[in-house]
């Protein structure tokens, strides 16, 4: 028997479309496995020729999930072009909407996309492994998911004017201040959101013991971690400095101004995917594989800086005796801790008197011809890098999307899970689900890191070494 290939397409319960191919050797053991992002994104090119002020609104259209993240990084890149720093109120309000975005996105991943695996198990029948079954068996959990996402979305709508593609975040700050009533209405919704998040965290940690095999094999390998930290080295989502650590927790780089990201991050292109593969330059490609997102943010940080999140942060750090947590399954845990942090931090920011100031935006003309904006999106560190002429017309754009930073790690994770769970002689649905589930740990947003074009069929194809299809499995 020759080599065979298994294709999972599309990968389900993620944002966007991708496929996974699994190559079997002559003995039907998994030889290799890869994630292919099958969508094309052309935003860098589309933005050329546009006035800089349009960029936050334009690039926010990259994605319907995290438009706020793009608007934040984009506006920061524009701040950089103008050589301005928004007033404190503008910065605080941007921070609040960014955290609201992270909360609603994390809630979507945990409750709607991933919880069916936790509740029903990875080997449950596919027709049961979804949110609809969850509604039947765990209606309160399903309601909690809706309410927690609504909490984040409501803040985005209240501040930004609309839930999807708000235009309130602008170069120099934000377009209007908030009232006391708005502040009070958000504050009033915080206790319920916090209670929901804590309930989810309790459920998750109490059930972790059921997933030992998955924890041990879901992209559990040494890698670097990268993200933003503040001056104290604590978790940071809006501003701060880049920090790289290795798998032992040694700090490789610290205090890096994100404007100089190109000195540390290289970008490789692979033939079989539209998603580029960033890497840590000093180690080269592909050895410079690093991870970003919730797990990385907690791994690189000294603390969260809010009371309840810090209690959980300590427990998280104890998983690997203070060293970085390498098991990608713990992205879910980190995500829940970040939700708690986000809610607490929003409360802190709203209670800062300066947040209500009416000075919310700095105005200037173009003062630089290059601007870089960087922030933490739900899925990791996001870079917007613009070149503009003296009239403010964009002449070049480079985007490193959060999901893209994890591309090398996702590929390595898919391979590890496939080799652990998949038997080429007896391909079980549960094994294929685990291959997809490792991707869901990273919560990739592929419509964002690329862009949709066409409809991908819902099939798994098993092919021999001549690429002849020998088996087709319909999924979904």
């Amino acid at each position: 028997m020759g080599k065979e290939k298994i294709i999972i397409s599309p990968v389900t319960r993620i944002e966007g479309h991708a496929k996974i191919t699994i190559d079997l050797d002559e003995n039907k053991n998994v030889e290799d496995a890869r994630l292919h992002v099958t969508q094309y994104r052309g935003f860098e090119k589309m933005c050329e020729g546009r006035p800089y002020a349009e960029m936050p609104g334009l690039t926010a259209r990259t994605c319907g999930i995290c438009p706020v993240s793009h608007a934040i990084s984009s506006s920061k890149a524009c701040d950089n072009l103008l050589a301005v720093r928004p007033p404190k109120a503008g910065r605080n309000l941007r921070r609040i909407i960014n955290l609201a975005q992270i909360i609603q996105s994390h809630a979507l991943n945990f409750y709607h996309l991933s919880s069916p695996d936790f509740v029903f198990g990875f080997d449950a029948a596919p027709e049961d492994r979804n949110i609809f079954k969850l509604m039947q068996t765990h209606p309160q959990m399903a309601k909690d998911g809706i309410n927690l996402r609504a909490f984040g979305q409501k803040i985005i709508e209240t501040l930004g004017g609309k839930r999807i593609h708000p235009t309130w975040i602008v170069p120099g700050g934000v377009s209007h201040e908030i009232s006391v009533e708005t502040k009070d209405s958000i504050l009033a919704s915080i206790p319920e959101a916090l209670e929901i998040a804590q309930t989810a965290l309790k459920y998750f940690t109490e059930n972790l013991h059921k997933f030992k095999k998955e924890i041990d094999s879901f992209a559990n390998f040494p890698s670097l971690f990268m993200g933003l930290v503040n001056k104290k080295g604590n978790i940071e989502h809006y501003d701060g400095f880049l920090r790289f650590i290795d798998s032992q927790g040694n700090i490789l780089e610290d205090g890096i101004d994100p404007r100089f990201y190109k000195d540390y991050i290289g970008e490789a292109v692979e033939e079989d995917s539209y998603l580029k593969s960033p890497y840590y330059k000093p180690l080269g490609y592909p050895n410079g594989m690093y991870r970003v997102g919730p797990l990385a943010r907690l791994n690189i940080a000294n603390a969260c800086g809010t009371p309840l999140a810090d209690i959980e942060f300590e427990k998280f750090k104890n998983i690997n005796n203070g060293k970085p947590v390498l098991n990608t399954f713990y992205y879910h845990y980190a995500r829940l801790i970040e939700i708690i942090y986000g809610i607490e931090r929003i409360e802190q920011l709203l209670n800062e008197p300066q947040t209500l100031d009416t000075q919310i935006r700095a105005h200037a003309n173009i003062n630089r011809n290059q601007g870089v904006g960087c922030s933490e999106a739900p899925r990791g560190t996001l870079f917007h890098d613009y070149q503009a002429d003296d009239n403010g017309i964009i002449t070049g754009v480079n985007l490193i999307i959060a999901t893209g930073n994890n591309n090398l790690a996702m590929n390595a994770g898919v391979k590890q899970v496939a080799q652990t769970f998949l038997d080429g002689n007896d391909i079980k649905e549960g094994a294929l689900n685990r291959v997809e589930a490792v991707i869901r740990c990273f919560d990739p947003c592929l419509s964002c890191s690329t862009h949709a074009q066409g409809i991908v069929s819902s099939t798994i194809e098993i092919r021999d070494e001549k690429k002849k299809i020998i088996q087709t499995i319909r999924r979904g």
Binding site: T12, G64, N130, I131, F132, I146, R149, R163
Partner: protein
Amino acid sequence: MTIIVGFGNDLRGEDGFGIDVIKKLQNYDLPNTKLISTFQLTPELSLELKEATRLIFIDATFSNINNYSLACNLEEYKHDQLSHHISIRTILMILERLYNTKPEYELYSMFTNSFNEIIDEKNYEKAIKKVVEFIKTVN
């Protein structure tokens, strides 16, 4: 209460049909009626819709034939996995399973194959008018 939800992307040509119908409906004082216009249906929309005794959804649906004609067929909407956007069927299921409410519902879906621009403005407007008049009459 009747809630009318128009959804679509008004930057994508005839996909904005639902949004444009809602814009027109805003000119009328429909009794006990709430109008919602949104890019896409999301899970948290159910928090607003659970108050409804009657729901009307308006959108555009892909078809290569009979463009600008209206259909009312929920079978067009797959029983999808919940993600960042969901179908009408899913919304109805959420309302029933989580909030124990089963409002009457209607769907006005305009056939189109143009999600880039409005190809035939006259027929597009005619379809909008047809839905608006029908909703006004029924109300």
